[in-house]
Each structure stands twice: as C-alpha cells, then as structure tokens.
C-alpha cells in the first residue's frame, strides 16, 4: 500500500484511477463522474476547471475522502484511501491535507486564532500548545491584528485568509481547495490566491483546487478541464507566471486563451 507511484520523472502524489460516481435521486441514478483517471505530481498547483455540474466538486470531495466513489480508487501518497475506515480517513485528512472550503465555516464560540488551531485540536493537541503555531500562521497571512476577533465578524476575504492559515496548521503535504474565492470580489480573490500560491510554493505543498474563474488560471501549474463527468484535457499551464518560470525560465506570461472555455467562465 505504501508504494510510491512514479510517473515520468516526477513523483505522483495523488493518483485517481477510473473513479465513477452516481447519485440516487428518487428512483433515478444520476451519473456524475463516468470514469476519471488523474495523476497529480508532487508540487503541482493543479486547477480543476469546468462548468457547473461537470463533477469537479464531486471529484474533489472523493479525493479529499468525504464522498465515497461508486467505483475506482484514489491513492494519496500511495495509500488507497477508500480501502480504510471512515475514522482513518478522518485522521488522514486531518494530518496530511489542508482544506479550504468555498465558504469558510468556523467554530462560532472560538476566536480567530483558536479556529486556526482547530486542526491540531482535532488531532489531539491541547489549545495552549497549539496557539503559538497558530500565532505564527496568522502572521504569515497578515491577520495578526484580528487574532482575538470572532471569525464571522471578518470580511469574506479576511475569512479566506484565515482559512488558508487554518489549512497550514499541521504542515500538510496537500491543500485541497473548493472554489476558495467563489464568494469574494475580484481584488479579495486575487489576494487570497496570491497568498495560497506563495505559501504552497514556499512550503512545497501540492495543491488541488477547483475554480471556474478564468482569471485564476494563471496561478495553476496544471489545468485539468472537466466536462460532463469526464476529464477532457489535462495539461501543463505554460502561462503559469510563477512556478513554470522556475521550471522553464524565459517563458512570458501570455494572454490565456479561453476560446473554448465559455461555459466554464459563465458557470
């Protein structure tokens, strides 16, 4: 189970194999994913894009271990996560993956800094030993002034910065983000994405993020397009202005062609 799956010259960190998922609505079976296979490499900033209802969020939830696939397997760091128990998956999510949901949800009775510490608390640490690290992270996202506020008193953009800090609490190897800027205006969204980009780069975190905002394509090192429950294209993003520059120095940031992505952008 622990074998490291190698792909080309790069280590495969997340492997999705023939994943199918269908939902039962009344007597009808609605297929959402009809056989998805993917390889995400260590250090990728992979964007999952596509129209609403194409199955990208479902795929994200299956990879994150929240939604069980009808068929197929998901290997993370070589572990077939759906072969384990629910509590093991919960533990694995907690210890290895940072999660940034579309809308930030908080423990209302806890302060901002305590909410950042929550993954450590879930992992069996005490508040007092977790707060110092949470304090470093809140500084990292530039929100130290708001440490003692209630999270819901902050603006949407501020909340997402806190969510980024929370996702980093246990030094995750992965960050899974479900349209983290979906509810933000353009400027706030850019700031959060820039932050996420800087941080994942700095700490070498593999990111899998769902978005349908074409303006954010520039942050992805890979763009995986989905349509109607299938992956339609999966390519290195030559326009990624940041990481790819290191890998392929000299490439300019060009205008991203979105000619065939109209429906994505509208979704």
């Amino acid at each position: 189970m622990e074998e490291v799956v190698k792909h080309e010259h790069k280590e495969v960190a997340i492997l999705v194999e023939g994943v199918k998922k269908s939902f039962h609505v009344g007597e009808n079976e609605i297929p959402v994913l009809s056989g998805v296979s993917l390889k995400i490499h260590r250090g990728d900033f992979a964007l999952l894009v596509g129209a609403s209802g194409c199955g990208k969020s479902t795929l994200l939830h299956i990879v994150y271990g929240l939604e069980q696939p009808t068929e197929g397997k998901v290997f993370i760091d070589g572990k077939d996560i759906w072969a384990y128990s629910k509590d093991w998956r919960a533990d694995f999510r907690n210890q290895s993956i940072g999660f940034i949901p579309q809308q930030s949800f908080w423990i209302k009775s806890l302060s901002v800094i305590e909410n950042i510490a929550i993954p450590a608390i879930i992992g069996g640490k005490g508040f007092s030993e977790s707060i110092p690290r949470a304090a470093k992270l809140i500084e990292l996202v530039g929100m130290e002034k708001w440490a003692d506020y209630r999270p819901y008193d902050l603006s949407g953009g501020q909340q997402q910065r806190i969510a980024v800090a929370r996702s980093l609490m246990l030094d995750p190897k992965f960050i899974i983000a479900d349209e983290p800027t979906g509810n933000l205006d353009f400027k706030a969204g850019e700031e959060v994405l820039q932050l996420l980009n800087d941080i994942s780069d700095k700490f070498g975190i593999t990111v899998l993020m769902v978005t349908h905002n074409v303006d954010q394509y520039k942050y992805g090192s890979r763009i995986i397009r989905m349509f109607d429950g299938k992956v339609t294209s999966d390519e290195q993003n030559k326009n990624s202005f940041d990481r790819l520059e290191k890998e392929f120095p000299g490439i300019d940031n060009e205008e991203i062609s979105i000619g065939d992505e109209d429906n994505d952008a509208q979704a």
Binding site: M1, H61, Y64, L66, E67, K79, D80, A83, Y84, S85, K86, D87, W88, A90, D91, F92, R93, N94, Q95, F99, P101, F105, W106, I107, K108, S109, L110, I118, P119, I121, I122, G123, G124, K125, G126, F127, R166
Partner: protein, 423 residues
Amino acid sequence: MNWKFPKFGRPKDAPVEGPILNMRLSSVLLIGYRNLMINKFRSIMTIGGVGVGIGIITFLISLGFGFQEMVVREVTKDNPPDIIDIVNSNLDNFVSLDGKTIERIREIPGVDRIGRSINTGGKFAMGDSQTDGAIYGIDADYSDMSPLKMVSGSVDFSDESSKAVVSSRLAELLGFTDPASLVGQAISYDIILSSETNSEVKGDTVRSENQIEVAGVYDDKDKSVAYLSYGMLNRNFGVDLAQQGRIKSKALTDVPNIRIEIENLGFVTENVGDIVGDIDGFFLIIKIVLVVFGTIIMSISAMGMLNTLSVSLLQRTKEVGILKALGAKRGDIFKMFIFEAAIISVIGGISGFLGGYGVAKAVNVAFNIMAVQKGNDTINFISIPGFFMLAIFGFVAFLGIATGLMPARRASKTHALEALRYE
C-alpha cells in the same frame, strides 16, 4: 476515554490501520463550555431549569426526611426501642401479671430486666389542702426504665422505700408554689384498691389516712400524681398484681422473640418500633407523592434541556460539518455534544442541590428563631440521607446522558458534506 464505533462492512483484506488520534477531553470540554458561554441567556435558562427542578426535589425531600426523623426522634426520646411494654388491656383476659408470671417472663431468653407498675386513684391532703390524683406504684427496675424529670429531691423506688415522688402540679395543689419546700414533708393519702391490683380484693376498697414522706418532686404541670414504691404498697396494702410491665431486652434483635413469648402467655405487648413503623408508613406515602411531583418537575426540565441541545445541534450543523471535514472523528463529535449535556446537567444539578438544601436550611433557621422568641426549643426538621445524595448524583448523570444521547448520536452521524450544505 475513547468511544469506539464498530467498523461494519469493512472488507477482510482492508489495510491495517495505525492508532487514530482523537480529541483531548480537555479540548472537548473547553469547546462545550465556550459554546454555552456564547449563548449565555439560553444556557442560564436551561441550567436554571435543571437547577430549579433538582432544587425543588431536594427541598421537598429534605423536608420529608427531616420531618420523619424529627417525629421519630420525639417519639423514641423517652421510649428506647429495646423497651417492651406489657399491658393487660384485654378485659376478657383472666391471666394476671402476678409475681409468678413476672418470674416466668424474667426467664425468657433475651430479657434483661423487668419492672412493674400499677396505677390507681387516690386522694392527697396536707393541712387544709386536699386534692384528688393518681397513684402509681412502681418498682426500681420500672423507675430506671422510665426516668422522671426531677425538679427537686431524689427518687428511690426500692422495696424498702417508704417515700413518695410527686408531680409539681400536686405540690402546687397542696399549696407549695416552691416544690423544693415540700421535700422532706409528710402528706396524707387515701388509696383505692381493686381486683386489678390485689388478688384478694373484690370490688373497690379505700384505705384512708396513710402518711408518707415526700422525697422528691418531678416536673409535670398538668397532672396531679404521686409515685410510691411497689414494694411498700405490697407490704402495707397487699398489692400483688401489676397492671403494666416494662421489659428491657438485652439486644434489639431479642425484641420480636420476647414479644411472641409474652403474647403466648396471653398478654398484649407494645414497643416503640410499632409506632415508628406507623410513622415510616405514613411518611412513605408522603415521599411517594413527592417523588411523583419531582418526576413531573424533572421531566419538564429534561424537555427544556433536550430542546436546548437540539436547537444547539441545528445551529451548529455547519460546525459539525467543518469539524468532520477537517478530520474530527464520530466519537469526537459525540463527546462534544454529550459533554455539553453533561456540563448543563452537572452545573444545574449541583447548584439546584445546594440551592434546595440551602433554602430548606434557611426555613429551618427562620423557624427556630421564631421558636426561640416564643420560648420553645429549637428543632431540626431538615435532613438529607446519604443515599438520596447519591440518588441525585445518579439522576443528574442519567439526565445528562439521556438528554445528550439523541443529539450527540445525530450529530456524530451527520455527513460532513451534508452538514456543510445545510441551510
């Protein structure tokens, strides 16, 4: 503490899992406490509901037990439970408590001492004063078992004693406002003898103008009574029967056997245990009524608590969702809700218990202040037996678990994604 959920439906070839990290109890409690604090009003109302319920029960029960103990204490004060009275109240009964019978009873195993007494009519005179009254003839054993509250002088009812002890009322009627001044003086008395006291006498006869010295005065402001020595009455008037016997048993466990033996001889026996039994029976009914009341009150508190916890769960559905999404285990969520219920019931239970007991004590103190002002003795009518405290503790624990169980189970089973989508 670890709640392990059974892992159903896992295939046999499922991979081996290492230890799974669970939340610390202190963190669970802190989050539960914080959650109660941000909904202060609601929490105070819920805890108050439990507190008032437990408080009322504690108040009523401590009053119930206290009154019972007080009544039993008063009844048994001059009647130790190892004393058995023999009465010859049955008129159809031809058995009499004569010297032979007394000796037979003395032989019964477990009998420590037996005393006898008669009570008959009399007339007392001193100088120009004279009055009717009762004459008791008792022996030393009887006297030891029924001590008199002396105000002056001393008691001696041995067979040789030819002295009397009179009530303060009798002293007063004979013209002695200071009872002590009667001690050492001789009074004259008439005594009625009957077939109840003398085996040789038929009908009533009066023996007049006998003299006796007063050795002591005891406290009784109502009745005019003189106690004389049974031995003296036997010597001077031929009194050879007793109307009442009093037995001290060696041990409390001997009491039932001795009673059976004596009743087999044809006598009727009485023991303070009979009265205590009647009192206990009466208070048992009262306590049952109190428990029914308490149950009604507590069900209302419990419903309030259940309502609070259910609302709390609905309001926190998204919190449950994000906690689960971030890796909280079902057991963690379960603990969070069950401990919130526990915090409510424990705080409510302790404050209710202390409050109810405090109010009951305050009522007792207020009552005693009034009693002292009116010149009466203070009494204690508040009591909580240890088993009741344990019962309250057990009930509080049960309340927390019973009301917390349903919301906690529901919360722990909530699917993370559904919870996050919950509106």
